[in-house]
Symmetry: C2
Subunit: 163 residues, 2 copies
């Protein structure tokens, strides 16, 4: 088994809810260090929401010291306005990653599903169950966004595009 | 004539070239304080480019002390990849604006054209000529992106959505 001392910060970007998972890989497998779902004040201006989310992300970076970022990359499907706003959140995260000298690796939802399940048609429930199995965690009160963040971090570790 | 002591920072967002114009309105009309076209290293990672652009924007904010931001907002037309990358640049700028407590006002290209020319079909040359006329500036070696930044700043001042 390939071993890395990298600590990946997986991110499922969003302005209502933003999932974060910090993960490492050791000889026994992938280990979840921390995960959370950040939220921002719906009544605040969008710029204030970005600022709030950014502050929380900086706290997590300082506390958990990731060495690399893996983030979900959306493409416009149905709602263009939402897709653009999520891209703006991504921009803030990419900027902060540069501040802490963390390389950013993007993965599409399809890449994540394909990598973890071997095909791209897995549903939410299957993905969650698989993530729990890989990480040997039991179902807790976690948000879907946290599982999405774990999934992108696992994808990064599985793809092995690190040294 | 309505007078404001607001100093607007107009921004035409982009990762290759990013136009910025600082503008004020006084009894004699709109006054261009400063404009520039920022560029980032094409060979660098996207996150490094965002970081480079952000550093330059912070320098300009600290030097010229704008009180508000007016920024062009793109919608996906032809190239989705470009539109998403520009939205990521916008996210970095929105985040920095919050850092300096500057409200961000978005205007679509159509709103800008309609506001300045009275209709939405003006071409690039007409827009540049109009911006030069309003600001009483002569054609210098400025980039189109600078004119776009001036146009969005003028739109903000003309719309009068300030107190």
């Amino acid at each position: 088994m390939k071993i890395t001392n990298q600590r990946v910060m997986g991110i499922d970007p969003g302005y209502d809810r933003l999932g974060i998972a910090i993960m490492e890989k050791d000889p026994r497998g992938e280990k979840l260090i921390f995960s959370t779902c950040l939220t921002s004040d719906k009544k605040a201006d969008f710029s204030q929401r970005l600022w709030q989310l950014g502050k929380e992300i900086e706290k997590i970076i300082k506390k958990h010291r990731p060495t690399v970022v893996a983030m979900e990359k959306l493409f416009v499907t149905v709602n263009q306005k939402t897709a653009m706003a999520v891209a703006e959140v991504r921009g803030m995260i990419i900027y902060l990653s540069a501040k802490y000298q963390l390389a950013v690796n993007d993965f599409s939802p399809l890449e994540i599903k394909s990598c973890l399940t071997g095909y791209g048609q897995a549903d939410k429930k299957q993905m969650i169950s698989l993530v729990e199995k890989i990480l040997k965690i039991k179902t807790k009160k976690k948000f879907d966004d946290e599982y999405d963040a774990m999934a992108v971090a696992l994808t990064y570790l599985a793809k092995g595009n690190w040294r």
